[in-house]
């Protein structure tokens, strides 16, 4: 228990540091929101109109320390502020639309990739030199080594554009109304999510699998495994309860981290498949020097990574008695 309390306090301090960095880092970038908005029109916006933009965004000019305290005060209240690129829409509203798509696609894909990777990695180590170890593992590792966008574009071009098996873009058939009670809508969401999901899982699989296999091999050399086998326990019990339970520990931290990063979205997936999500929203906020939106998203990523890490600590304690 003391371990968990100590960890919790540590995360609290980390969160404060992250919140502060989160405020100052974006402001170190060159350029301001007015300038960038002006540039978007590439000379089509009347230069005289810049005055009215400055008037609208007036609050950006306040002294930095004042901005910082306002920021902290609003955070406590859970107010992320108003987006500048989408002025005057609140940050929370800008984020909410993309967030559910990201959580669904990237979240499910991460869990899938991790689970499948763990299982295949376990099998590969247990049956070294057999089918999974000599065929699936190298293929998965090679796929993981390819740049993701290359595989995604290839899949999109061949499977969607040429073969027509999958739709080309977006999270659902845009002709339909967003309505979870409508079966056609639900099936179009699944259909549109298949290809992005598949490419994410395929490319993420190799890393998990390899990590698990190597950990397993280390664990399998331990004396207690030999003892378990000598006791005449079933292969399955030795593999899962004695070996895999211990071998999974190092991967768990990595899994928690990647779960935390789910919130950040998967920018390249979103760009290639025109799929909605947080990655593109984040990119737009950075390009637009939209400090409140940037802060909002970075904050969510930071907090979810910290939360996921804390969660991993808890699991660790449950799985590994030594940590108690």
């Amino acid at each position: 228990m003391r371990f968990l309390v100590r960890r919790f306090l540590f995360y609290l301090v980390a969160a404060y540091v992250a919140i502060t960095l989160n405020f100052f880092l974006p402001r170190l970038m060159v350029g301001d929101p007015v300038q960038v908005m002006f540039s978007k029109f590439q000379g089509r916006m009347d230069p005289r109109a810049v005055e009215s933009l400055k008037e609208t965004f007036g609050f950006v000019d306040a002294p930095v320390h004042e901005q910082y305290f306002t920021y902290l005060k609003h955070l406590v209240k859970g107010d992320l502020g108003i987006s500048l690129t989408n002025f005057p829409v609140p940050v929370s509203e800008v984020i909410s639309g993309s967030l559910e798509w990201t959580l669904r696609l990237v979240g499910i894909a991460t869990i899938f990739a991790f689970s499948i990777g763990m299982i295949l990695g376990t099998i590969a180590a247990w049956r070294r030199g057999k089918f999974v170890d000599t065929l699936i593992l190298p293929i998965a590792s090679i796929l993981a080594a390819f740049p993701y966008f290359w595989i995604a574009m290839l899949a999109l071009y061949y499977l969607a554009h040429i073969q027509g098996w999958f739709p080309i873009g977006h999270g659902y058939n845009l002709r339909l109304k967003e309505d979870w009670g409508d079966r056609a809508y639900v099936s179009s969401v699944i259909e549109h999510g298949m290809l992005p999901m598949l490419t994410v899982v395929i490319t993420a699989l190799g890393g998990w699998m390899l990590g698990m296999r190597n950990n397993m091999i280390n664990v399998l050399a331990e004396d207690y495994i030999t003892l378990a086998q000598a006791k005449g326990l079933s292969d399955r019990r030795v593999m899962l309860v004695y070996a895999a339970r211990n071998a999974i520990l190092p991967s768990l931290t990595g899994f928690a981290m990647s779960l935390g990063f789910v919130i950040g979205g998967a920018l390249i997936v979103e760009i290639v498949f025109a799929y909605p999500g947080m990655g593109f929203t984040l990119l737009n906020s950075v390009n637009g020097r939209d400090y409140p939106l940037m802060q909002g998203i970075f904050l969510m990523i930071t907090l979810s990574v910290l939360a996921a890490n804390f969660f991993a600590d808890v699991i660790y304690v449950l799985l590994d008695p030594r940590a108690r």
Binding site: P88, G97, A274
Partner: protein
């Protein structure tokens, strides 16, 4: 069974034919319905914000949901098309600008649109300067309702192009907006508007769909309210590639995308149905130099630079052949009516603005820019080193290629030029503060030739803080040019204006404050699988790109309709 179904078919066909005959007025019936799919390249996720005076509202809020008083027709020399206003006039002393308004226009909640709304809108700017997105405030003192359909704007000074400025405003409904406490932060999710697409159907992070205003004031040829199409749908594409893939696939009807190598990608996919026309009428992209610094303060050096540039290569390689070299006078095709042929001839006589490396070398030699220290590069006449950078924005690949060609051109005549790729913010900041040597940059494209030169030459644009606003980045000004620009807008006499405009062009050519390269093309592609009525190269009745800020797409929208009932059914 067989005969019965045959009879049924016959009856149906007769009914269809009959209904067609009833509706036909000149023999053809324009089919109604269908959803036009629009793409404007890379697009940020949509959020609901139909306040037309927000800094960057939902696309189509400004010309679609709301409408301007008048619409400038770019291909027709920016002549104003009557829209919510039927016309304008100036008072004798030129200090009052009067608009007469269209009668019979209704807001989509059934209220009449009239002078009260227009007066309310301008007075709202005075109360909330942050809404003054068109920068009208310095130009008017008060607005007055003359009668229900006449509005008088009292100007603070004589400004005879004020009708362009004031007619570009989108009137707001007084009855709906007068009770709003803070219109600056109002997102107007269910707009009360007069525009043809005033009904918001869907707006989320993936798609925007706006549908027709059932009570729109303009009538089609069939006597029913326009537009002929039911809805406009614009999907979000996070990058140019997915947008172009959908376009090549024929999923999009009306496109404003940059497509590289368009002939062998987009056109080759279906030469019959895919079309594009990049009208070269945008602002003229130019090479700027800082004329407050040596050697750019030397006219002979500037002229030599203009002879060294291979304009054809810049446009054919850098710009993929999507535009052509500009005239030496800085005015694009949009202002053909204002071209001063004498100035063009004078430029030809001086040999400037023509690719001739030998002449450039001779001019540099004559002006004393020779290699003094033997390092292979030309030096300043006083013998000190001369090397300079050409700035360009990171990621704007067409400009980067153009600048690469130009710096190569400069090196070919012995000048130590190199390319400097910068982040946008830094690039703009350097231009504005005058901390640069040379740079590529955009020019002004609308709405009048006066605006083009004002933004590039008018000395008032350099503020007290030394910041060069608009595009006065070369910092070259002259009292004569200033005076001509002031005189131009102090009169409505067309002959006097023409004389001033001719003289300005002559001053420009004689002094070469910057080097015009090419008119910026406007990306515009369309497909005719489902819809027809788009402006074509042969009949370019209005600027075709949907990506305009001044309402020209409304004119296209009035013309668009399905090719047939079948394509209407297909376009859902």
């Amino acid at each position: 069974m067989k005969t019965r179904s045959l009879i049924l078919v016959l009856v149906l066909v007769t009914m269809l034919v009959a209904s067609n005959v009833v509706n036909a007025q000149d023999g053809t019936k324009i089919p109604r319905g269908g959803v036009v799919v629009v793409s404007e390249g890379r697009q940020a996720p949509f959020v609901s914000n139909f306040n037309p005076y927000a800094p960057d509202p939902t696309p189509w809020a400004q010309a679609g949901v709301y409408e301007p008083l008048m619409i400038p027709n770019a291909p027709n020399g920016f002549e104003l098309i009557p829209w919510l206003a039927t016309g304008y006039s100036y008072s004798e002393d030129l200090l009052t600008l009067t608009f007469t308004l269209q009668e019979g226009v209704k807001w989509n909640d059934g209220e009449d649109f009239n002078a009260d709304d227009v007066v309310f809108t301008f007075e709202l700017f005075q109360k909330f300067p942050a809404l003054d997105r068109k920068a009208t405030l310095p130009y008017f003192s008060s607005v007055e309702k003359v009668d229900d359909y006449t509005v008088a704007i009292h100007l603070t000074e004589v400004y005879t192009l004020a009708h362009y400025l004031f007619s570009s405003v989108w009137p707001l409904p007084e009855h709906a907006w007068s009770t709003i406490e803070d219109p600056v932060t109002y997102t107007n999710d269910t707009p009360v508007a007069t525009g043809p697409l005033a009904t918001v159907k869907v707006v989320n992070e993936q798609v925007l769909e706006l549908c027709r205003n059932e009570t729109y004031w303009q009538m089609g040829e069939d006597g029913l309210p326009l537009p002929y199409v039911d809805c406009m749908r614009q999907p979000v594409y996070p990058g140019n590639d997915p947008a172009n893939l959908a376009t090549v696939n024929g999923e999009v009807d009306w496109v404003a995308n940059f497509i590289p190598d368009i002939e062998s990608t987009f056109i080759a996919a279906n030469p019959e149905k895919h079309h594009y026309y990049f009208w070269p009428g945008g602002g003229v992209v130019s090479l700027y130099y800082n004329t407050e610094k040596a050697p750019y303060n030397d006219l002979a050096f500037r002229q030599a630079l203009s002879m060294a540039i291979d304009y054809e290569s810049v446009t054919s390689i850098g710009m993929y052949g999507y535009t052509n070299p500009s005239e030496p006078i800085l005015l694009s095709d949009a202002f053909k009516g204002s071209w001063n042929q004498e100035a063009i001839d004078a430029a030809a006589e001086m040999g400037i603005h023509e690719y001739d490396p030998d002449a450039a070398e001779a001019a540099l030699d004559a002006a004393g820019y020779v290699d003094a220290n033997g390092d292979g590069w030309r030096d300043l006449p006083d013998g000190s080193d001369l090397s300079f950078k050409v700035q360009v924005v990171n990621g704007w690949t067409d400009w980067v290629t153009s600048v690469q060609i130009m710096s190569q051109n400069f090196q070919d005549v012995g000048l130590n030029a190199s390319i400097d790729v910068l982040d946008f913010g830094i690039w703009l900041n350097n231009l504005q503060t005058g901390t640069y040597d040379t740079s590529i940059g955009w020019g002004t494209g609308d709405p009048t030739a006066w605006d083009v030169f004002r933004n590039l030459l008018f000395s008032d644009l350099i503020g007290d803080d030394g910041i060069a606003n608009a595009q006065l980045w070369s910092r070259w000004t002259s009292e004569e040019a200033d005076q001509l620009l002031v005189d131009y807008v102090a009169t409505t006499d067309a002959a006097a204006q023409k004389a001033a405009m001719d003289r300005i062009q002559m001053i420009f050519v004689e002094n070469l404050p910057l080097i015009p390269l090419f008119p910026g093309p406007t990306w515009y592609e369309w497909t005719d699988y489902r819809f027809t009525g788009f402006p074509t190269e042969e009949d370019y009745y209005i600027q075709g790109s949907s990506w305009t800020t001044n309402g020209q797409r409304l004119v296209v929208l009035m013309q668009l309709h399905c090719i047939s009932e079948e394509t209407c059914a297909e376009a859902q």
